[in-house]
Amino acid sequence: MSIVRVAVVDYGAGNLVSIGQALAAVGADVTFLRDGSEPLDADALVVPGVGAAAPAMERLRARDLIEPILDWIAAGRPFLGICLGLQLLFEASDEDGATTLGVIRGRTTELLEAPTLPHIGWNQVVRRRPHPLFEGIAEDADFYFVHAYAGRPDPAVEASVVLAETVHGRPFVSAIATGPLFGVQFHPERSGTDGLRLMANFAALARVGVREAAGSAG
């Protein structure tokens, strides 16, 4: 079995060390993509990130990273957005009005009726459908969250996009999966053994080709 090569986008936002360490711990070969002019030679692309959308988009733009990311997704290649990396897939963010990547119809909105904000800590990720991304992970497993906003898909695409939800006040979308495009609002790199398992599952999906795997387990 060949080693899966994962490129992690480094645009100065987020805990790259722990994401790199977690991917390495599950056997992936990790490289960091710091500029759009660098070659993107990998089996999977990960966009991490914490914080607000506008400065993140600004930094992606300054490093010419927006086009390579959009091209990668358009080519149907394996992609994982983590936290802000998931939120950026939507069209815009209420947090600061930023226009984001627009890969998924919908926008990022503040968590509604949340008892505490930000939503920090471990919470249950309730799956709406079975998916190999969560293979080997208990149905009621907890993952670690740190955020105040979350992506809300347009009702027209909701059913095909939403993979899991989490309750903090009103339920919000905590994982999406559509073909080879994945996103999680929680931090798998900080979610102990279950988080590592999810990273390993993503790496395995990237290795075998996401379409086939999703089709067979779907």
Partner: protein, 265 residues
């Protein structure tokens, strides 16, 4: 439902975990990454490293152990103790920490909180508040007041703890780590009135610290104090109580806790 967190705090001096009453009678307790991994395995929801290095080179050693810890313990790590600037915060985050707690430096320069929050996101900024009860001014004074202490609880300030908590959150603190200096090291339980006063005053999560003796104290910090998370050092290091025992007591009290990996509830 959001779980209530149990957080062991490791006092780190010059690259080693030490125990003792914060700054005196320190005894060597081992390698921080090794202990961090052990706590992660035992069900810790998060870890805090408090740097109490005496030597100037302690900071460089700290960054190295944060990096080694990030490689072994895949749970969130907060680093505090003497972080004075955005540059220092950046270095600690780059080494692999998820959050940095600011204390004395934030009191001296509150704008540091907003600068760090703007640069790294408020989720990465924990403001640690060391609070001490102010003796009642006179008869019939019902509502207690607390003052903010700095430099590890050694120096007083004129700040009111409740007002400072509100201000810190306004400026961008994503979490507050509230330590009762009256209770710290005394094993007489958390100051639940202090916790309640602050938790009901701010929207962000409050981490309770100072005074834990047994599992019942953790439950009280959450139920009576309104804390989202509870932190303790010596009772875990000395193996007086396990994280599992604390979580079992919390679960028995009806509080949502994360299952310990590998243990079926």
């Amino acid at each position: 439902m959001l779980r209530r967190r149990v957080i062991p705090c490791l006092d780190v001096a010059d690259g080693r975990v030490v125990k003792g009453t914060r700054f005196v009678d320190l005894t060597d307790e081992g390698d921080p990454p090794e202990l961090a991994e052990r706590y992660a395995d035992e069900g810790a929801d998060e870890l805090v490293f408090l740097d109490i290095s005496a030597a100037p080179q302690g900071r460089a050693t700290l960054l190295e152990i944060v990096e080694r810890t990030a490689r072994r313990a895949f749970i969130p790590l907060t680093v505090g103790g003497g972080v004075r600037s955005m540059e220092e915060m950046r270095d600690v985050l780059r080494a692999g920490a998820d959050k940095v707690s600011l204390n004395t430096a934030a009191v001296a320069d509150p704008a540091l909180i907003s600068r760090c929050a703007a640069r790294f996101g408020r989720q990465a900024v924990v403001v640690a508040i060391d609070a001490r009860r102010v003796p009642a001014a006179g008869e019939g004074e019902d509502e207690p007041r607390w003052e903010v202490l700095v430099r590890g609880g050694r120096d007083t300030t004129d700040r009111d703890a409740l007002a400072w908590a509100g201000r810190a959150v306004e400026l961008g603190a994503g979490e507050l780590l509230v330590t009762s200096i009256d209770r710290d090291g005394t094993q007489s339980g958390f100051d639940t009135r202090l916790l309640r006063a602050i938790a009901s005053h701010v929207p962000v999560p409050v981490i309770a610290s100072g005074g834990a003796a047994g599992p019942a104290d953790f439950v009280a910090a959450i139920v009576e104090g309104g804390a989202d998370a509870v932190l303790a050092a010596s009772i875990f290091h000395r193996r007086i109580h396990t994280i599992a025992a604390v979580k079992a007591a919390m679960a028995a009290a009806g509080l949502p806790v994360r299952a310990i990996p590998g243990i079926v509830a």
